[in-house]
C-alpha cells in the first residue's frame, strides 16, 4: 500500500460491520409493513412506543457508562448492548409511526415527546451509580425482555415478529453478559458480594411493575400481537433464581415500589431522575427544532 494511494487502499473495502450509517439494508427490508387486519392502529402504535421507550431509555443509561467502565473490554461490551437496544428502539419507533399513519418518524418520538409521554417501565430509567446496580438492572431487564420477545416472534404483526426475531439473538447475549457478571460479583470477594446484594435490594422493588399489565398490553395480547407481561412472571422468576443461586445470593425479599394512584412507567408516571434523562436526551434537538442532522 503506497502512501499516495493509501486512501483508496483503506476505503475500497466494504466493511459491512459498520452497519449504522446511510445506505445500509434495513433489518426489516422485505418484511410486509401492512397492518394486520383487525388490529387497532392506536393500540399498536402505543404498544410499539412502550417497547421502544424501554430500549431507548436503557440504552441511554448504558451510554452514560461510556468511558466509565471498570475495564476497557467492558467498554466495548457495554457499548454493544447500548447499540443493540438503540437499534431495537429505532425499528419500534418506525413501526409506531407506520401504525399511527401520520408523518411522525423515529426522531419525532425520541426528541419531541414530553417525559409523561414516555411509556417505559421505571426500571429502565433507574440511575446507575455503580457497576453492581448496572448488572442487576440488566439482568432483570434482559431476562424480562427476552421472555417478551420470545412470545412476540409469533405476533400477528409481521413487523413486530421480525423485530422480535432479531432482538432475541441480541438480548440472549445481553442476558448472558449480565448473568455472568452477577455471578462474578456475588461469588467474587466479600466486598463485591455485599455490593451486589445492595444492588439487588435497590433494583428489586421495581421488578413487580414489569409484570403489571397495562390495558394496551392486554388488548395487544388478546389480539395476538403482543404478550401479556403477567404471563412472563414465572419464567423470569426461574431465571432469576438460577442466576442468583449460582451467584450464592438470594432473591431479595422486598416490597414492590408503589406507583401514583396505581399508575407507573407504562402510564407515563416516572421517577424524578427521568426528567434529567429526557432533558439530556433532547437538549440539542429541541434547541434546533428546524435543523436536520
Amino acid at each position: 500500500m503506497s502512501f499516495d494511494n493509501a486512501y483508496e487502499a483503506i476505503t475500497e473495502q466494504n466493511d459491512a460491520r459498520w452497519a449504522f450509517g446511510t445506505g445500509f439494508d434495513s433489518p426489516l427490508s422485505g418484511v410486509d409493513s401492512e397492518l394486520p387486519e383487525g388490529v387497532d392502529r392506536a393500540d399498536l402504535a402505543t404498544y410499539s412506543l412502550m417497547l421502544a421507550d424501554d430500549a431507548l431509555v436503557v440504552s441511554h443509561r448504558l451510554q452514560q457508562w461510556c468511558t466509565h467502565a471498570p475495564e476497557l473490554e467492558e467498554e466495548v461490551a457495554l457499548a454493544n448492548i447500548a447499540l443493540d437496544l438503540l437499534g431495537q428502539a429505532r425499528m419500534l419507533y418506525t413501526r409506531a409511526g407506520q401504525a399511527e399513519g401520520g408523518d411522525r418518524a423515529e426522531d419525532d418520538y425520541a426528541y419531541f415527546r414530553t417525559e409523561s409521554e414516555f411509556g417505559n417501565v421505571r426500571l429502565a430509567e433507574l440511575d446507575q451509580p455503580d457497576f453492581a446496580v448496572l448488572v442487576a438492572t440488566l439482568l432483570v431487564f434482559t431476562t424480562w425482555r427476552l421472555a417478551l420477545l420470545q412470545r412476540m416472534t409469533g405476533s400477528r404483526d409481521p413487523v413486530l415478529a421480525a423485530i422480535a426475531a432479531k432482538g432475541i439473538k441480541e438480548v440472549t447475549y445481553h442476558r448472558d453478559y449480565a448473568a455472568q457478571w452477577v455471578v462474578r460479583l456475588g461469588d467474587g470477594t466479600d466486598y463485591s458480594r455485599q455490593r451486589m446484594r445492595d444492588a439487588l435490594e435497590a433494583v428489586w422493588p421495581y421488578v413487580d411493575e414489569l409484570f403489571a399489565t397495562h390495558p394496551v398490553e392486554r388488548r395487544m395480547a388478546e389480539a395476538g400481537v403482543g404478550a401479556d407481561p403477567a404471563s412472563l412472571r414465572d419464567e423470569c422468576a426461574a431465571v432469576f433464581g438460577t442466576v442468583l443461586e449460582s451467584a450464592t445470593l438470594e432473591v431479595p425479599q422486598v416490597s414492590p415500589r408503589a406507583g401514583v394512584a396505581g399508575r407507573a412507567g407504562r402510564h407515563g408516571v416516572h421517577t424524578e431522575s427521568m426528567g434529567y434523562l429526557i432533558a439530556e436526551l433532547q437538549a440539542v434537538a429541541r434547541a434546533h427544532p428546524e435543523a436536520t442532522w
Binding site: 460491520r17 473490554e73 461490551a77 454493544n80 439473538k169 447475549y173
Partner: protein, 105 residues
Amino acid sequence: MSGQAGDRGDASGAQWPLYEVFVRSKRGLNHVHVGSLRAADERMALHHARDVYTRRNEGVSIWVVAAADITASSPDEKDPFFAPSGDKVYRHPTFYDIPDDVPHM
C-alpha cells in the same frame, strides 16, 4: 491466576490474565491470530473476543488460549540466547521502563 501470563500485582485491582485470540472469519479458512485481550476466565475471554475482535459477526469461530499456556518455537534454531527453545509466545520477560517523552503523534 497469579503467576500466569506474566501477571504482576496491580496497585489498583487485579490484572486479569492475557489471552491470545484466534478467529476463523469464514468457513474454509484457518483460525488466524488477531491479537490478545485480558479476561478473568475463559468464558469472559470468549465474550470479550467476540465483542472486540469480531464485533459479534455471526458464523465466526473464535479460539481463546491463555498466553501462558502457549509453547512457542524459537525463530532461529541456532539461537543461543534464549535456550531452551520451547518458550513463551513473547520472549521478553520484563517490562522496559520508558522515559517520559513528548508525544509524536
